[in-house]
């Protein structure tokens, strides 16, 4: 049976397209890994420029020694109540440091990343912000990124 009635006809409804697979095998042991946090939850330092709630594809580098009390959230896409009570429930920086101290991982990374997901210019995120963040993590010798989003 032929399903195509009109060649080249396109839907007016935008549908999400799952991007091609990217998978890097994990070859190290956890105790030898430097781990960074990367969050789309709008995390940044109180001293840094807040994200633009109307859409923002920029990111913030958060130094690894930043106290959790110096962090905050700017994100209009989810209920911020819990994360305002305890930043660790979206950005577990204190828990990560404890795992490093315990020897479960080698180290918490010298820099972590915050950005504001949930919309904005997706093309910019894919083609510019994402690769820039990856470069920062490579530069800092990060083995594993733990992301919180979605």
């Amino acid at each position: 049976m032929k399903l195509t009635v009109v060649e080249g006809l396109q839907s007016e409804i935008y549908v999400p397209i799952t991007p091609p697979p990217v998978f890097t095998p994990f070859t190290k042991e956890l105790k030898d890994c430097t781990v960074a946090l990367v969050s789309a939850a709008g995390i940044h330092m109180k001293s840094q420029k807040p994200f633009n709630l109307a859409g923002d594809f920029t990111y913030r580098e958060i130094p690894g020694d930043t106290p959790s009390s110096e962090l905050m959230v700017t994100h209009g896409g989810y209920d911020n109540t819990d994360v305002n009570r305890d930043i660790n429930c979206m950005f577990p920086i204190d828990r990560l440091r404890e795992l490093a101290k315990e020897g479960f991982i080698k180290a918490a990374a010298p820099v972590h990343i915050g950005f504001m997901g949930g919309g904005g210019n997706v093309k910019k995120f894919q083609e510019e912000t994402g690769p820039q963040i990856a470069e920062v993590l490579k530069r800092e010798g990060v083995d594993v990124a733990v992301l919180t989003a979605g």
Binding site: P16, T18, P19, P20, P21, V22, F23, T24, F26, L30, C33, V35, A41, Y78, D79, N80, T81, D82, V83, R85, D86, N88, C89, M90, F91, P92, D94, R95, L96, E98, L99, F104, I105, V144, A145, V146, L147, T148, A149, G150
Partner: protein, 69 residues
Amino acid sequence: MLIAALPPVAKQQGSPRIVAPMVPMGANVGEPNNEVMQTAILKDALKALETIDTYGKVIPLPYEYKAKI
């Protein structure tokens, strides 16, 4: 490794490795000020690196937090 509150969305968006505790958006790593739960979720997320061997896998995690909204 992505800790997701909305695993179907995370999978559709192409995340290669996903763990999914039973949490609401905004508390992906568990209940605020619950250090035991947060540590367990973070540890299990990292441990899943050693077991996930293929793209797009979602590992449910046995921790539950319901936000009082």
